[in-house]
């Protein structure tokens, strides 16, 4: 007797279809809403015949690109039309697996529409805006990578902020003392690793609630670095401890000569290049190697891994320590890559936003970099907003990424996959 039996399977896939349908409609609604918003708010609020002028050279670039001038009304209508078409297609047929990619495209088009409208009748340095976006994305993306390393192995890490701060402080002191930026960077990475080790011992060995362990790390790091900073680093007598210097900008030969893109992407200090390389390297490691398979297995179903002879504790220790080192490296960006000195609480919540980027990016390095760039764009925009003819306080623009994160967390865009054993200490029998 051969009977094909697929009971539970069918029951779940029925629920999945209902969810997918709802998601398809919500997404389509978002696309159409974006199109309507452009028509009714942007197009309605521009002077007929006005032009938008984008400057295509960030300050101090070695290439010359002509300004980009076009009719605001025409561009906005075209964008709204494309968005409407995408929305209709999404509602009727659905993009299926491409949906997230299309969503990203819609977001980019919408933001471009916003800039077109805001610049209408004036000018904006588009290249400068994008260049700052890339820079601002660095600590967020590196923080997200730190989170991915920990959480893919099943350990929640909200201590990224504290690990970053520690890395920033230690790197300043060591770089100043040794007068060597590389030694400073290395010491910052090691300091982050030590913080990771503390988090690992607390949450893996002693099975302390991981949120509390992470919070302890944040409070401890804030306290100790602020104390030491005010006691020594900010005092004139100890200024020699707070003069680490900064990594110089490096132009990538040939690539930096590409008009427009060159100066945005290929004329930075090493942190931007490190971010890009690390994102792809971690993706490769997680999804293509034995190490990655084991880390993910431990984060999804530690007991299954254990019964196959994988050491769950060792794997988690390694992942959390590496995550700490990543956060420490992100911390050194603030001092050695951005400001050239240490100031109290200078990470200013970037570790937490990195965590948001991780969730937004669905625990995926490339997705997290996308989220980091999006957050970085608004960061960059809120700085420039005062220069734009926008009847909006720049603080509101600064809020947009966080509103977007809340929407993502609420599951409107579709629930991402959280590692199944995330946050659960493993108990060996």
């Amino acid at each position: 007797m051969t009977i094909s039996i697929d009971t539970t399977h069918a029951a779940t896939s029925k629920g999945m279809r209902a969810r997918e349908r709802r998601r398809r409609l919500i997404m389509g609604g978002i696309f159409l809403g974006a199109a309507l918003f452009i028509w009714f708010v942007f197009v309605a609020n521009i002077t007929p015949g006005a032009v938008t002028r984008f400057l295509m050279n960030p300050g101090g670039a070695s290439t010359e690109t002509a300004d980009w001038v076009f009719s605001s009304g025409f561009a906005l209508n075209a964008i709204a039309g494309v968005l409407a078409l995408l929305g209709v297609f999404q509602v009727v047929r659905g993009f299926g697996k491409l949906t997230n990619g299309i969503l990203a495209a819609v977001a980019i088009l919408f933001l471009f529409g916003f800039l077109t409208w805001a610049t209408s009748g004036g000018q904006t340095n588009l290249a400068g805006l994008l260049r700052v976006m890339v820079v601002r994305a660095v600590p967020l993306t590196l923080g997200a990578l730190s989170g991915i390393l920990c959480e893919r192995s099943g350990v929640v890490n909200i201590g990224i902020e504290g690990m970053m701060l520690t890395g920033a402080f230690v790197s300043t002191v060591f770089a100043s003392l040794s007068d060597n930026l590389w030694i400073g960077m290395l010491s910052g990475i090691i300091a982050g690793g030590v913080m990771g080790l503390i988090h690992a011992v607390l949450s893996i060995k002693y099975k302390i609630n991981q949120i509390i362990s992470g919070t302890v790390i944040n409070i401890f790091a804030t306290g100790i670095t602020s104390y030491l900073s005010s006691k020594f680093l900010q005092k004139t007598a100890y200024q020699f401890l707070n003069e680490p210097g900064m990594f110089p900008q490096v132009e990538i030969p040939i690539l930096s000569k590409i008009p427009f893109i060159g100066p945005i992407l290929f004329h930075h200090n090493i942190y931007v290049y490190a971010m890009i390389i690390l994102v792809f390297f971690l993706t490769f490691m997680l999804f293509k190697t034995r190490w990655g398979l084991r880390v993910r297995a431990v984060g999804e179903h530690p007991k299954a891994a254990d019964t196959l002879g994988i050491n769950v504790f060792k794997t988690r220790y390694m992942a959390v320590i590496l995550g700490g080192m990543m956060a420490g490296f992100a911390g050194t960006y603030f001092t050695l890559g951005s400001s050239g000195r240490f100031d109290e609480v200078m990470t200013a919540g970037r570790g937490f936003i990195g965590l948001a980027a991780m969730i937004f990016g669905n625990y995926n390095p490339i997705g997290s970099m996308g989220a980091g760039l999006l957050f970085g764009f608004f960061d960059s925009l809120s700085v420039k907003a005062s220069l734009l003819q926008v009847p909006l306080p720049s603080e509101f623009l600064g809020m947009v990424p966080y509103l977007a994160t809340i929407i993502v967390l609420a599951g409107v865009v579709g629930k991402g996959h959280i590692p199944a054993a995330d946050g659960e200490p493993y108990e060996k029998e």
Binding site: H9, A11, T12, K14, L293, T307
Partner: protein
């Protein structure tokens, strides 16, 4: 030739318990050796020792005649011993190949996964043993029966010769069980040996070549399935005479107590779990709901007891609409609920037994005067119930967590049955219990029915449903696809219905 596996004098002590007491066991090459015993008899401990998860205090393990130290699962794998766990050890978001090769990955360039090569080997194993598995499918998309085959492939991939299967039939439909037995036979034909752990007597007689019965951590006997009978095995397992048959009085049904009309309930993820179902339960009858786990049973029960809102339809209790009532209102109207997960939904594990016994009446007189609890009355009531329901506990102050599963279930039964009820909703009332406790719970349920209570019994154990019910409704993908008279329904007919196959004779009868 030496036996493929021999255990000599295996002893394992846990604080206060002798889990395994000098157990000897011999498994010959190419046999299905059934290990039969009640829950808590020591089967699982013994197998965990064999698989390297526990270390024995005494005794030795011989594989192919050689003494082998098994300190970890890796040692067990090296010795050719593999285990299909009762709860599958599979990562749902991984593919079959990824799950199979985990821990023993095929790699190239010193660490990069070679998925293609591993998938090829999985395919070869699947073909050789006729398992019909797609190496690139994701576990989360596969039905339970196929997931179990992936577990078997995991062992074969590691070239295991001795396969331990821990309660492998617990999650399967009767037809899937037949398929599994076929696969087990193929494995035996290819020279593998299987240790088959179970407490289901019928399956043992059907499949095993040799039976070893364990009770209280000791081997109490070995028998040959050709000569043994179900009653003999049950008596050996329990250590006293047990009656496998339930004596039912002739039913004298009364008026309709529970009436469900077009009920529709969603699961937490928004899928339709209960799809416009209709049934009624009369006073003095047991309506059994049969079905493979995950076909809407949980949501149905949660909805009827007010824990999950219905999105459509009506539920009437003695003519009163309770569709949108809250759990306390439903309880006060005379509904008793034995939940499917007694530890999560039935008890507050950290509270003493006396408090657990008044969880749904504590706010009423005489347990409370509106503000203060009267602990004296609560304790007295507790002591009375512990005695009359035979709950084995040192005192009523003992936390519920430290009792055995059977005694925990008795607390729930005592709480629910000690007040006047007209409807009893029992969900998986005997899951994980030993034969003695099962007998007790069954008798209590039937006693309630004979008193004139309407009983809705939800169970994935087909035998249980068939024994206790007067009528049987089969739930499949959230729909009741048939309601049968228990006297005339056959096991095969129900098995087919549970798999969603409706024959000509049993179209939906309402």
């Amino acid at each position: 030739m030496a036996p493929v596996l021999e255990l000599r004098g295996i002893t394992k002590r846990f604080p206060g318990v002798l889990a395994n007491d000098h157990i000897n066991l011999t498994v010959e090459k190419g046999e299905i050796h059934a290990l039969l015993g009640e829950n808590g008899a020591g089967k699982t401990t013994l197998m965990n020792i064999l698989y390297g998860l526990y270390h024995p205090d005494e005794g030795e393990i011989l594989v192919n005649g050689n003494i082998t130290a098994i300190k970890s699962p890796i040692d067990a794998i090296k010795a050719g011993i593999g285990m299909v766990h009762q709860h599958f050890m599979l990562v749902p978001v991984f593919t079959v190949t990824e799950n199979v090769m985990l821990g023993e990955e095929f790699t190239k360039y010193g660490g990069v996964l070679d998925r293609a090569k591993a998938a090829q080997k999985v395919q070869e194993i699947s073909d050789k043993y006729n398992l019909n598995i797609d190496p690139n499918a994701f576990i989360k998309d596969m039905p339970v029966g196929l997931q179990q085959r992936v577990e078997i492939i995991k062992l074969l991939f590691r070239e295991a010769n001795i396969l331990i299967m821990d309660e492998p039939t617990a999650v399967l439909t009767p037809q899937e069980v037949i398929e599994l037995f076929k696969i087990m036979q193929t494995l035996i034909d290819q020279g593998k040996s299987i240790i088959f752990i179970t407490h289901k007597l019928g399956e043992v007689l059907e499949s095993a070549k040799k039976i070893t019965v364990i009770r209280g951590g000791k081997v109490v006997g070995s028998t040959d399935p050709k000569t043994a009978t179900m009653n003999e095995l049950a008596n050996m397992m329990v250590g006293r005479e047990v009656s496998l048959e339930v004596d039912k009085e002739i039913q004298k049904t009364g008026e309709i107590v529970l009436e469900v009309r077009d009920l529709k309930v969603l699961d937490p993820r928004g899928g339709v779990a209960v799809d416009e179902i209709n049934f009624e339960v009369r006073a003095g009858e047991v309506l059994g709901i049969a079905g493979v786990q995950g076909n809407g049973q949980t949501e149905l029960v949660r909805s009827l007891t007010g824990l999950l809102p219905a999105i459509d339809g009506t539920v009437l209790l003695s003519g009163q609409d309770i569709t949108h009532s809250n759990p306390r209102q439903i309880t006060e109207l005379g509904t008793a609920h034995i939940p499917e997960d007694r530890q999560k939904d039935g008890l507050v594990l950290g509270l003493p037994i006396s408090d657990n016994l008044v969880l749904n009446t504590y706010y009423l007189k005489p347990y409370s005067n509106g503000i203060w609890l009267d602990q004296k009355v609560i304790i007295e009531t507790g002591e009375k119930l512990v005695k009359s329901f035979d709950i084995r506990t040192p005192s009523v102050f003992t936390p519920a967590s430290s009792l055995s599963g059977g005694n925990q279930q008795k607390i729930i039964v005592a709480r629910e049955f000690s007040r006047p009820i007209k409807l009893l909703i029992a969900s998986q009332p005997t899951r994980g219990l030993d034969v003695g406790s099962i007998e007790y719970i069954h008798n209590r349920l039937l006693a309630k029915r004979d008193e004139g209570c309407a009983v809705l019994l939800v169970s994935t154990e087909l035998d249980e449903v068939m024994q206790l019910s007067d009528r049987i409704a089969v739930l499949y993908r959230g729909k009741i696809i048939s309601i049968l008279d228990a006297k005339t329904a056959s096991k095969e007919q129900l098995g087919l219905l549970m798999a969603g196959i409706i024959g000509e004779t049993e179209k939906v009868s309402r």
